[in-house]
């Protein structure tokens, strides 16, 4: 943007037109995206090119960072005064971004058509305190992926419906010598671990907070961590899971080294791509299992939204760009790595074709999406929980003690 201003100024001075306003002032937007998962970088560039073609007076500079850098980069740019007009944000950040005035309230810009057309669950991604802070863009949850080939060889007829069953099936696979450690998770000291944990918390009917105070150390929250530790100690879970991120899980699954893996939507089509994967055509996907008597399926809300920052000098153009990126037409066109936010898209053969199994799982999973707590102190809470998970897995502390400490360190 600075470059554009300089160029304009220099041009103006040399032409002796300093006092003549520019007739075709070009607006440049800076947008921050994620360099992994969901829509690929190429997809985002293609979408943006289409937008630029339709709006020749707006230019969009794209920047891609890994998920791990998205939050800090957004906040830092805000603190330094310059930065982005449009940012991608995770479902866990609106509370903090709204409190600290990082994003602008766009409630008045959400049309009735949008309200009616978008899946109700998707809106929770961008809402805080009854206000809208952007549009949902990536609708996502973790699914249970399984290797059909391995299950068949083990004589297992159907993928697991409960977490207990998952353990039992993994044991059969291990006992038959098909795989040493059949289950892969992303339990690295990162947000990925919290997403797996949340999936289990939802299965066990737990709560993160009650009346604003930590409650994950009791009931379902504790059962969830106990399940993780048991699965790890039993040797059914790949022990390297505690340093895996989602991409590591994908590589292990695509290499045929996992019978079961918990991961986001994007893995479905990537694992079926012969360029990347050795398990093409063997990829099964179902909603994450439930717990007998408590839940049928489980799911974490891992959706992300696009918002306009409070420092943007071009909020109208920024919103125009966001509406384009989240429009049903754009989303349907790129539905292979990320499913649309629009309800009617799920009945559109152009979207469902070739991924019927994923759509079937999505219908159940997306309806069960469980949110991570909306609190401005989310980063602290998450960091404390990440530590609790790792300490329990490493046996440094019991799940009870670890979660009690996390509750104390959560800042709440």
């Amino acid at each position: 943007m600075l470059k554009t201003i300089t160029k304009t100024l220099v041009g103006a001075v040399f032409a002796g037109e300093l006092f003549v306003p520019h007739a075709f002032a070009e607006t440049t937007l800076n947008a921050l995206f994620m360099a992994q998962a969901a829509y690929s970088e190429a997809d985002v560039r293609a979408m943006t090119d289409a937008f630029a073609k339709a709006n020749p007076d707006v230019k969009v500079n794209l920047e891609f960072v890994p998920y791990e850098g998205l939050h800090d980069k957004t906040v830092l740019a805000q603190g330094s005064g310059g930065g982005y007009d449009v940012v991608l944000f995770d479902v866990i950040w609106p509370a903090e971004y709204a409190t600290n005035k990082v994003l602008v309230d766009v409630s008045s810009k959400i049309t009735d058509d949008m309200k009616k057309g978008v899946l109700p669950g998707a809106w929770t991604t961008v809402q805080y305190d009854g206000k809208y802070y952007g549009m949902p863009w990536i609708l996502d949850t973790k699914y249970l992926f399984y290797n059909k080939d391995i299950l068949e060889k083990a004589g297992i007829k159907a993928p697991p419906k409960t977490w207990e069953e998952l353990g039992a099936q993994a044991k059969i696979i291990q006992d038959k010598g098909l795989l040493k450690t059949p289950i892969a998770w992303s339990w690295s000291q990162a947000e990925a671990a919290i997403c797996d944990y949340t999936t289990l918390v939802s299965a066990y009917g737990g709560d993160f907070l009650k009346d604003g105070k930590p409650d994950f150390q009791n009931g379902g929250g504790l059962s969830a961590l106990k399940y993780m530790v048991d699965s790890y100690k039993s040797g059914l879970t790949n022990p390297n899971s505690k340093e895996f991120l989602e991409e590591d899980v994908r590589k292990v699954f695509e290499n045929g080294d996992a019978a079961f893996a918990l991961n986001w939507t994007y893995m479905y089509n990537m694992a079926n791509d012969p360029k990347d994967s050795k398990v093409v055509g063997k990829v099964g996907v179902v909603p994450a299992p439930g717990v007998t008597g408590i839940s049928d399926v489980s799911a974490v809300n891992g959706s992300m939204g696009l918002g306009v920052t409070a420092v943007s000098k071009h909020p109208d153009e920024a919103w125009k760009y966001i509406t384009f990126m989240t429009s049903q037409a754009t989303q349907n066109q790129y539905a292979k790595l990320s499913l649309p936010i629009w309800a009617s898209s799920y009945d559109d053969p152009a979207v469902t074709k070739g991924q019927e199994e994923l759509i079937a799982a999505a219908k159940l999973g997306l309806a069960a999406m469980y949110p991570r707590p909306t609190t401005p102190k989310y980063q602290e809470l998450s960091t404390a929980l990440q530590q609790a998970i790792q300490e329990s897995l490493l046996g440094q502390s019991s799940p009870e003690d670890a979660l009690n400490t996390a509750a104390k360190n959560s800042g709440l």
Partner: protein
């Protein structure tokens, strides 16, 4: 008269530099000190003054003491290893042999690589499923199954130290090599005639020439190692279970992830103070070493 003019002229000539230094070092430092006495958030309003609360809270937290131990372990072991390996490499490269020039150029490569590239490379080497280290050790029958080097608290810090050494020993080697070239040939020749063995020749003839430059390398590397951030952030993000969290990572989390700018500033100043104390102590040591060598 002329002396006063000289002094005035010297100050005048330094003025632009002084202005720049005050602007880029002085002001941020003052601002950070001011910030460290407030409960300011990273974004939003300035916050209220809370006196020494940030300092007392930070210094008494178990996070701080644990992180300080981790940082010290990392710094001491990696710098010691880098010094030893660096000097050995310099002694080797100071020999006359075919292809020496190429080897010298190659050796600088790890140091010239950006740290993030270096860290990503080592992450691949340590990969618990498909990493080169696991493959090599299994083939040599040193381990019977693949290990999770960055996933176990017992090995994660050691694995990071190895990666850091690989990146930074060339700097030490380069400084030592330059110093070795300055050792007069007649003196080493004379020591040979006098019948000094390799160890004594190194200890009493060569080392005095190396001492000064090595102290400089030691100071540089210690300060850098104490502030280590990027290689650890890329490889483990402080995990597993915070076993590789260093002071700089704690500052980053406090100030940016949790957005407690005031508390982060106080911690940053504590780190600055620690590094300054180290630097001053070393500087005194350098003066002493240089004095005794002369």
């Amino acid at each position: 008269m002329s002396g006063t003019w000289m002094t005035t002229r010297a100050w005048l000539l330094m003025l632009p530099l002084l202005v720049v230094m005050v602007a880029v070092i002085g002001w941020p430092l003052v601002d950070t000190i001011n910030l460290s006495f407030t409960d300011a958030k990273l974004v939003g309003t300035g916050g209220n003054y809370v006196g020494f609360d940030n300092y007392t809270n930070m210094l008494s937290s178990s996070n701080f003491s644990r992180t300080l131990v981790t940082t010290t372990l990392f710094a001491v072991i990696s710098v010691a290893a880098e010094m030893v390996i660096g000097v050995l490499a310099a002694l080797l490269l100071n020999q006359q042999f075919h292809g020496r020039a190429v080897l010298r150029a190659l050796m600088i490569l790890p140091w010239a690589l950006p740290t993030v590239v270096n860290a990503t490379l080592w992450r691949l080497i340590y990969n618990p499923e498909y990493g080169a280290l696991n493959a090599a050790l299994t083939q040599l029958h040193l381990i019977d199954s693949y290990r999770s080097w960055l996933g176990e608290p017992g090995t994660a810090l050691a694995a990071l130290i190895v990666a850091d050494c690989w990146k930074n020993f060339p700097l030490v080697a380069l400084i030592a090599l330059a110093a070795l070239q300055a050792v007069p040939r007649d003196i080493t020749a004379a020591s040979l005639v006098d019948g000094a063995g390799p160890f004594n020749r190194f200890r009493f003839v060569i080392l005095p020439y190396l001492a000064g430059p090595l102290m400089v390398a030691l100071v540089l590397r210690t300060i850098e190692a104490f502030k280590v951030f990027d290689i650890i952030w890329v490889m483990t993000r402080g995990g597993p279970a915070n076993s590789t969290r260093t002071l700089s990572i704690l500052v980053y989390q406090e100030a940016f992830s949790f957005q407690r700018a005031g508390s982060g500033a106080s911690l940053a100043l504590i780190v600055t103070l620690l590094v300054t104390v180290l630097a001053v102590a070393y500087a005194a040591l350098v003066r002493k070493t240089a004095g005794s060598a002369a």
